[in-house]
C-alpha cells in the first residue's frame, strides 16, 4: 500500500502489509547535535516521571476513529489511544507482536491470533477477540470508511459488508471466516479466501485495532444503520482506550491533548501528557523548536543548517519510506517521445540528479533508480543501472530514437518538435524547484521543456482519471509497511476513462512480466510468502522498472526529526516514531 505525499495531510495512513522475516539494508538513523550524551542518559538513568511531550503537526486531526481515518495526523492520534495487534520494527519493518501473538497455518490461509492476557482497556475490562471483530464489523457496516477492500479476502466479509455492490453483497449477518475460540475469549482465527502476503499487516494493523465493544457495540447491532456508527460521538471523543494514552480534549485547529493511561498493559507512560500542537507551517515548527514551545517535530532541509546551531535540540536523520519522482505519460498524444524507452532512459541520463538533490533538498536525499527504497527489505540486492549523469549518452539515445535537433536547436522527429510540460502541485516549493531545474537540464538536451505548477486538487483528479493532457508529473509516494506495489504498478491500476476505471497507473506503462512478478509477490500460487521468495519477485519487478524508466525515480528524502534534548528514549525510524512512546521521558 502506498500513498501520495501532498505536503499537507490529505494522505492515508492505511498502510499495512506483511513481512515474514527481515533482510534490511541501510536506513540506520544518524544523529547530530548531542545525541551521544542524550542516548547515554537514556540508557543509564532511571526515567523521570511527569512532564509533557508536545509534537508539532501542520494538519489538525479529523477523527479519532481508526475505521474512519484517512489522514496522517488522525492516524498518529489514534495510534496513541488504540493499540494494534502487531507492529513493525521501527528501523527494519520486521513484523512483531504487540497486543497479540499470531501463527499462520501451513497452507497460508488461516491466521490465529491470541491477545495478551495482561491486555486490558483503560476501564479495566479485558481486551478480547470480540473487540477485534467489532472493528472489522464496523468497517463492514460503515458508509464512510474506505477500508472495505482491506478485508475483502477474509472469508465471508464480502457477504457481510454493505451496501450491496461490486464488492459487498450484504447477504450475511456475520463474517463466516472469523472464529472466536469458545474456550478462550482472547483467541480467534481468520480464514482467507486466498494466500495474501500483505494480509497480516491488514489484519493486525491500525484499521483493525480492537474497538471497545462495550462502547461501540450499540452502534453495530444487526439493526444498526451505517450512520449510527459513522456519526457516533465516541468517534470524536473516545472514552475507553487500549493504547498508552487517553483522550482529554480536542481544541479544534489548535491542540489535541492526551493524558497518560495509568493502567496501560505495557506499563504506564512516563510522561503525564502528550499534546498534538497544530501549527501553520514548517517555519512555525522550526521557531517552536528553537523556543522550546515544541518538544519534537520534523523540519525541512532548508532549515537544517539553522537548526544545527541550536544547542537545545537533537537532530535525528533517517531515510523516509517514500520518494519524489517525475512520472512520464508513456501514452501522451502530445509528448509522443515518452512512449520510447530510449527517450525515457535519455531523460534519466540527461539529468544530474546528484546536483539536483544538492540544489533542491540541500543534499538530504538519496537518488532512486527503482521503486523500492533502501530501508525496505524488498530493495533489490542485484545491481541496477545507476543512470549517472551522462549528457553525451543521453544525446546519443535521443538520436537513436530519431530525435534530431532542428535549426533552432530543438529536437524534432517526423516534423514534430519535442515539447515537454512538467507539471507539479503548486505551493510545494521543493517540487516546483525540482520541476524548474529538470526543465532547465532537459532544455540542454534540446527538449523544449517547461515547468507548470498547478493546484494539487486538480492534479489529483487528472492523474487518477486518465486525463491525457498531463505529459510529465512530479509528485511523491509515501510507501506503506509492506512493499506490495500492486496499486501503483499493476496494469489493472491504469486509468481508463472509457471503462470508468481509475487508478494510480498514470504512466500507462505495462509489462506482462512485471505484472506477474507483482502478483507473485502478493498472492503467490505456491503460497510462499517468505521474504526470500517475495524479494526475488520484487527484484524482477525493480529491474523491469529500472530498465524501462516509466518514472525518473528521483530521490528519497531524509526525515529530519528534531527533538528537545530533554526528551529521552526518542528513537524514531522509517517505519514508526511512536512505537515506544510509553518509554519516553522528560529529563528535568
Amino acid at each position: 500500500m502506498s500513498h501520495p505525499r501532498t505536503g499537507r495531510a490529505l494522505i492515508s495512513a492505511l498502510a499495512a502489509t506483511m513481512l515474514v522475516a527481515t533482510a534490511c539494508t541501510g536506513g540506520t538513523p544518524t544523529s547530530s547535535g548531542a545525541p551521544t550524551s542524550s542516548a547515554a542518559a537514556s540508557a543509564t538513568e532511571a526515567p523521570q516521571q511527569g512532564g509533557r511531550v508536545i509534537e508539532a503537526t501542520i494538519s489538525d486531526i479529523a477523527t479519532m476513529q481508526p475505521v474512519l481515518v484517512n489522514d496522517t495526523a488522525s492516524g498518529r492520534a489514534t495510534g496513541l489511544i488504540y493499540d494494534t495487534l502487531i507492529q513493525q520494527d521501527a528501523k527494519t519493518g520486521e513484523v512483531k507482536p504487540r497486543l497479540a501473538t499470531y501463527t499462520t497455518s501451513s497452507d497460508g490461509l488461516t491466521y490465529t491470533f491470541e491477545i495478551n492476557a495482561k491486555a486490558n482497556w483503560s476501564d479495566g475490562k479485558p481486551i478480547i477477540a470480540q473487540d477485534w471483530l467489532s472493528a472489522v464489523t464496523a468497517v463492514g457496516k460503515s458508509a464512510k470508511t474506505v477500508r472495505k477492500s482491506t478485508f475483502q479476502d477474509i472469508v465471508g466479509f464480502n457477504e457481510f459488508c454493505a451496501p450491496a455492490g461490486a464488492q459487498c453483497k450484504a447477504t450475511a449477518s456475520t463474517i463466516s471466516g472469523i472464529t472466536i475460540d469458545t474456550a478462550n475469549p482472547k483467541k480467534f482465527s481468520v480464514k482467507m479466501t486466498k494466500v495474501s502476503c500483505p494480509a497480516i499487516l491488514d489484519l493486525g494493523g491500525a484499521t483493525a485495532s480492537p474497538m471497545p465493544t462495550h462502547v461501540f457495540g450499540k452502534y453495530l447491532t444487526a439493526t444498526s444503520k451505517a450512520e449510527d456508527f459513522d456519526n457516533a460521538v465516541e468517534n470524536t471523543a473516545p472514552t475507553v482506550f487500549s493504547g498508552p494514552f487517553t483522550f482529554k480534549e480536542w481544541r479544534k485547529g489548535d491542540q489535541v491533548i492526551f493524558g497518560k493511561n495509568a493502567s496501560y498493559w505495557q506499563g504506564a507512560p512516563n510522561v503525564d501528557e502528550y499534546v498534538y500542537k497544530v501549527v501553520a507551517n514548517t517555519t512555525a515548527i522550526t521557531n517552536g523548536l528553537k523556543t522550546g514551545e515544541i518538544t519534537f517535530g520534523s523540519i525541512i532541509a532548508k532549515d537544517l543548517a539553522d537548526m544545527q546551531t541550536v544547542d537545545s535540540v537533537k537532530i535525528t536523520k533517517y531515510q523516509s519510506l517514500g520518494y519524489t519522482f517525475i512520472g512520464w505519460n508513456t501514452s501522451s498524444p502530445t509528448a509522443t517521445g515518452l512512449a520510447d524507452k530510449r527517450v525515457r532512459q535519455a531523460l534519466a541520463y540527461g539529468i544530474d540528479m546528484d546536483a539536483v538533490i544538492k540544489a533542491v533538498v540541500f543534499g538530504e536525499a538519496t537518488k532512486q533508480v527503482a521503486h523500492h527504497v533502501p530501508v525496505q527489505w524488498a530493495y533489490p540486492s542485484v545491481a541496477l543501472e545507476a543512470y549517472k549523469f551522462d549528457k553525451a549518452k543521453a544525446q546519443s539515445l535521443l538520436k537513436d530514437a530519431g530525435w534530431v535537433a532542428g535549426s533552432d536547436g530543438i529536437l524534432a522527429k517526423d516534423g514534430k518538435k519535442f515539447n515537454l510540460t512538467i507539471s507539479t502541485n503548486s505551493g510545494n516549493t521543493e517540487r516546483e524547484t525540482l520541476a524548474q531545474v529538470a526543465a532547465d537540464q532537459y532544455k540542454a538536451l534540446g527538449i523544449n521543456a517547461v515547468s507548470k505548477p498547478e493546484a494539487f486538487q486538480g492534479l489529483v483528479t487528472k492523474l487518477t482519471t486518465g486525463d491525457q493532457t498531463l505529459e510529465a508529473t512530479i509528485i511523491g509516494w509515501s510507501l506503506g509497511g509492506d512493499p506490495d506495489p500492486y496499486q501503483i504498478w499493476h496494469s489493472s491500476q491504469i486509468p481508463d476513462p472509457s471503462k470508468n476505471v481509475t487508478g494510480f497507473g498514470f504512466t500507462y506503462f505495462k509489462d506482462a512480466a512485471m505484472d506477474k512478478a507483482i502478483e507473485q509477490g502478493r498472492n503467490p500460487t505456491d503460497g510462499n510468502c517468505s521474504t526470500a521468495a517475495r524479494k526475488a519477485n520484487y527484484e524482477t519487478f525493480n529491474k523491469i522498472l529500472n530498465e524501462n524508466q516509466p518514472y525518473n525515480f528521483g530521490y528519497s528524502n531524509n526525515v529530519l526529526a528534531v527533538s528537545n534534548k530533554s526528551l529521552q528514549n526518542f528513537e524514531p525510524g522509517s517505519f514508526s516514531t511512536l512505537y515506544n512512546v510509553h518509554q519516553w521521558w522528560i529529563k528535568k
Binding site: 474512519l68 474506505v146 485547529g253 487518477t464 482519471t465
Partner: protein, 318 residues
C-alpha cells in the same frame, strides 16, 4: 427604527441568496473532485468513491445539489464536513470566537491608537509629529503583514523570548488565563491592526483638519468656548462620522484579513480553518463558512447604519 431594521433584514435576503449562488458556483468550478482528493492514496476503490459521492449527493446535477443545499439551509442544516464528518456549521462556529477576539482587540488598538494619532497630527499640523503620522500612514499600508509578523516572531519570540511564537494559549494553561492569552495575542493583534491604525490616523487627520476649518468651529471659538470643549464636543464628534461609517466594513475586513495573520501566528481562527477547507475542497465547510460570514457581514452593516444615525443627527432612520 424597528421598520428600518426590518426593512434592512428583508433586503439582506436577496444579498444572502446572491452570496449562496456565487459561493456554490465558485466552489464547484474549481478543478478537482473532493472525494477523489480526500481518498487519494488510500485503498479506496472506484466503488468506494462512487458510494461516497452518492452519499454526499455529489452525483446529482448541480442545480439539484444547489436546491438541496438551500432546502437544508433554511432548516439550518449546513451538512456534514467531508473531512471531519461533523456538522459543518458547528465546526465553523467553534473557530469564530478565536477570530473575533483577535479582530476585536485589533479593532480596539486601531481606534485607541489611530484616532488620537490622527487628531494630534491635525492639531500639530506641519510639525515633526504630523510628519511622523503621515509617514506612518504610508508605511502601515506598505509593510506586508506576513513579513512584519515573521520579523516580530523572530525578534520577540525567538531572540528575546519575551513572547510566544505561535498559538493562542500556552499548552497546559487554563482557557481563562487572560494574561497568557494576552501574551499570545499581542503580536498578531499589533500586526492585524497596523493597516487600520494607518488608515484611521490618516482619515482622522484629514477629517479633523476639514472640520476645524468649518464655520461652526470658528463660531464656537468666537463664543469664547474653551479649546477643549470646541475640540471634543464640536470638532471631534463631526470628524468621527466617517470613522463610524468605516467601522462596519472594517470588522469584516479584519475577519478576512485575519487569514494571513492566523497563518503566520498559527492562530486557530476561521481564516485558517476555511483556507484548509478550501484546499481540501470540503464543500459543506466552505459553504457554511461563507454563508455564516455573510450573515455576520450583513449584521455588521446594519449595526453600522444604526450607529451612523445615532452619531449624526442629520441622518434620520426611516
Amino acid at each position: 427604527m424597528r421598520t428600518f431594521i426590518l426593512r434592512r433584514l428583508l433586503f439582506a435576503i436577496p444579498t444572502l441568496i446572491g452570496i449562496s449562488i456565487i459561493t456554490f458556483v465558485i466552489v464547484r468550478l474549481a478543478p478537482g473532485d473532493p472525494i477523489r482528493l480526500f481518498t487519494f492514496g488510500s485503498r479506496a476503490t472506484n466503488e468506494d468513491i462512487e458510494a461516497l459521492r452518492h452519499l454526499y449527493g455529489l452525483d446529482q446535477p448541480l442545480p439539484i445539489q444547489y436546491l438541496d443545499w438551500m432546502w437544508k439551509l433554511v432548516h439550518l442544516d449546513f451538512g456534514r464536513s467531508f473531512i471531519y464528518n461533523q456538522d459543518a456549521a458547528a465546526l465553523f462556529m467553534q473557530y469564530v470566537p478565536n477570530t473575533l477576539q483577535l479582530a476585536i482587540v485589533a479593532l480596539a488598538l486601531q481606534l485607541v491608537i489611530g484616532v488620537p494619532l490622527g487628531v494630534i497630527a491635525a492639531l500639530k499640523r506641519g510639525t515633526w509629529v504630523d510628519g511622523f503620522v503621515r509617514v506612518f500612514g504610508v508605511a502601515g499600508h506598505a509593510v506586508p503583514a506576513f513579513w512584519l509578523g515573521l520579523v516580530l516572531i523572530l525578534f520577540f519570540a525567538v531572540q528575546l523570548r519575551w513572547l510566544p511564537s505561535q498559538g493562542m494559549l500556552t499548552i497546559g494553561k487554563d482557557n481563562w488565563d487572560l494574561l497568557d492569552r494576552f501574551k499570545h495575542m499581542l503580536l498578531p493583534a499589533i500586526v492585524l491592526s497596523l493597516t487600520g491604525i494607518a488608515n484611521y490616523s490618516r482619515l482622522l487627520r484629514t477629517e479633523t483638519l476639514e472640520v476645524l476649518s468649518q464655520d461652526f468651529v470658528r463660531t464656537a471659538h468666537a463664543k469664547g468656548l474653551h479649546e477643549r470643549t470646541v475640540m471634543f464636543v464640536h470638532a471631534l464628534r463631526n470628524a468621527l462620522i466617517p470613522v463610524v461609517t468605516a467601522l462596519g466594513g472594517i470588522l469584516a475586513g479584519l475577519i478576512g484579513g485575519a487569514l494571513v495573520i492566523e497563518q503566520v501566528f498559527s492562530w486557530p481562527g476561521i481564516g485558517r480553518f476555511t483556507f484548509a477547507a478550501a484546499i481540501a475542497k470540503d464543500y459543506p465547510v466552505i459553504q457554511a463558512g461563507v454563508m455564516i460570514s455573510g450573515v455576520l457581514l450583513v449584521i455588521s452593516y446594519i449595526l453600522r447604519d444604526i450607529a451612523y444615525a445615532v452619531v449624526d443627527p442629520r441622518i434620520g432612520v426611516k
